[in-house]
């Protein structure tokens, strides 16, 4: 392969892949929390807390959209970490929990902790593509494609006549011309 430029390569970062995966996970979880709050409340040992589950679902969907759509996913990854901390504390404080649900709730806390660790690890990943790009951007300043500096080439094609169908009709042309 012949490169007519000679830069360092800039592969896409693991950060961006992680953001995409977590974004899809957030969207899926958020939709589940919105559509099946009662089942999730039972699964996490917190019956009667469906409104809280739905609110968490909305939060997950917003995070998911942010992770999938943003140029810089890092703020959204930290938002997920904050959300995990909130979820963990909610589960630990056990609002409305039944004692018999303790094993279920403990399992949910362990899962939330594991997800939180993954989220934090991803948030701490270096953005190699952006770092590489910032450091190794190639300057194509010698590639004008024209024989003289741009200011001297302005209007060099003034002999060209714009076709009739690509200019305003005579009746709509501006009253004044430069």
């Amino acid at each position: 392969m012949t490169r007519t430029a000679s830069p360092a390569s800039c592969p896409a970062g693991a950060l961006r892949s992680a953001a995409q995966g977590l974004g899809i996970f957030s969207l899926a979880l958020g939709v589940a929390e919105l559509l099946a709050p009662r089942a999730l409340a039972r699964m996490t040992g917190m019956p009667g807390r469906e409104t809280l589950i739905r609110a968490c679902g909305l939060r997950e969907i917003v995070n998911g959209i942010g992770l999938l759509a943003s140029v810089d996913p890092r703020p959204w990854l930290w938002s997920r970490v904050a959300g995990d901390a909130l979820d963990l504390s909610t589960l630990a404080l056990r609002p409305g929990a039944r004692p018999a649900a303790a094993p279920i709730r403990n399992a949910a806390m362990w899962m939330t902790t594991a997800v939180g660790v993954v989220d934090m690890a991803c948030a701490l990943l270096p953005d190699r593509a952006r770092n590489d790009a910032a450091g190794a951007a190639i300057n194509y300043r010698d590639r004008s494609g024209m024989p003289r500096p741009p200011d001297q080439m302005r209007g060099a094609a003034s002999d060209f006549e714009v076709p009739r169908d690509m200019r305003p009709p005579e009746a709509l042309r501006a009253y004044t011309t430069p």
């Binding site: 392969m1 012949t2 999938l68 140029v71 494609g145 024209m146 209007g155 060209f160 200019r167 430069p178």
Partner: protein, 389 residues
Amino acid sequence: MKALCWHGKKDIRCDTVPDPKIEEPRDAIIRMTSCAICGSDLHLFGGFMPGMESGDIIGHEFMGEVVEVGRDNKKLKVGDRVVVPFTICCGECEQCRRGNWSVCERSNRNKDLADKMFGHSTAGMYGYTHLTGGYPGGQAEYVRVPFADVTPVKIPDGLTDEQVLFLGDIFPTGWQAAVQCDIQPDDTVAVWGAGPVGQFAMRSALLLGARQVVAIDNVRERLSMAKAGGAIPINFDDESVLDRLKELTGGKGPEKCIDAVGMEAHTTRSLDSMVDRAKQTVMLETDRPHVLREMIYVCRPAGTLSIPGVYGGLIDKVPFGALMNKGLTVRTGQTHVNRWTDDLLRRIQDGQIDPSFVITHTVGLEDGPGMYETFRDKKDGCIKVVLKP
């Protein structure tokens, strides 16, 4: 022969396929000497355009040597060196006779499909879905050129492939984008997208006499190339496009705006582009019109929007009220390449412009599949890839 074939989203392979044959008396067979990956090929790579089938040969920017000619083709002879425009045109229908080559009424052999999609069919195209006729493309060792006595541009001796290859698409596309603006000497022309088409649009606007040309992108290499061509760069990751354009135009906005981005606008920090990306992910929207929205908003009232950027389907939340009330003119469409090729070839021969400036990577055809990702992700300073079969 070897050819680059589409096999699915993000799956391009260099396959061995049958050589093309003369099918109609006006055909010609071209042996490729150079071809290129176009930005619109990335829409196929990303699976954004409907109508592709596994095994389709892609590519619509190509040139080479005539090796076989149909019995009724009186224009070409074996040995001629030609650049082939990306649209296939009969030269005889009402639209071709008007010079509206890219909407030829006869060359799309899947006209019924296109009629359903767009209301009325447009011209056939090489290597660009069955909606445009399902013609094999030119990222290959050989290609069949239908109606070859109409569109191929004969190249005189003394010009390299790299100087003339882009006469088949991106140079006339950038040129038409600027011409459609009907540029006046006091105009500011703002160009969104500093990819290959944008680069040619900027230089065309300068040559046609624009007072100032502005380039809007976030890739530093592309902005440096735009600056080399006389454009004022705006990096939308670093500053507000709206504020900077106001500063450059005394608060009034650019008179002429060119969308050289199309359906895959980058997601920026703006809410609308984030929502576009999210909606596209769940298939609530097919195209991402962030650039269109921004152009409509910033363009000076009574100005012109020129849209060479390719769109394929449906867009959402476009401020049509602003467009209408500001009295903006919209000119768009695939390029009528043959309207411009004679004049642009003369300008290349006269030394007014050398289109080879835009080439950053040249690889063998067999390395083409890997270059799609390089081109899409703008890795390695990639702006334009030329393939050598």
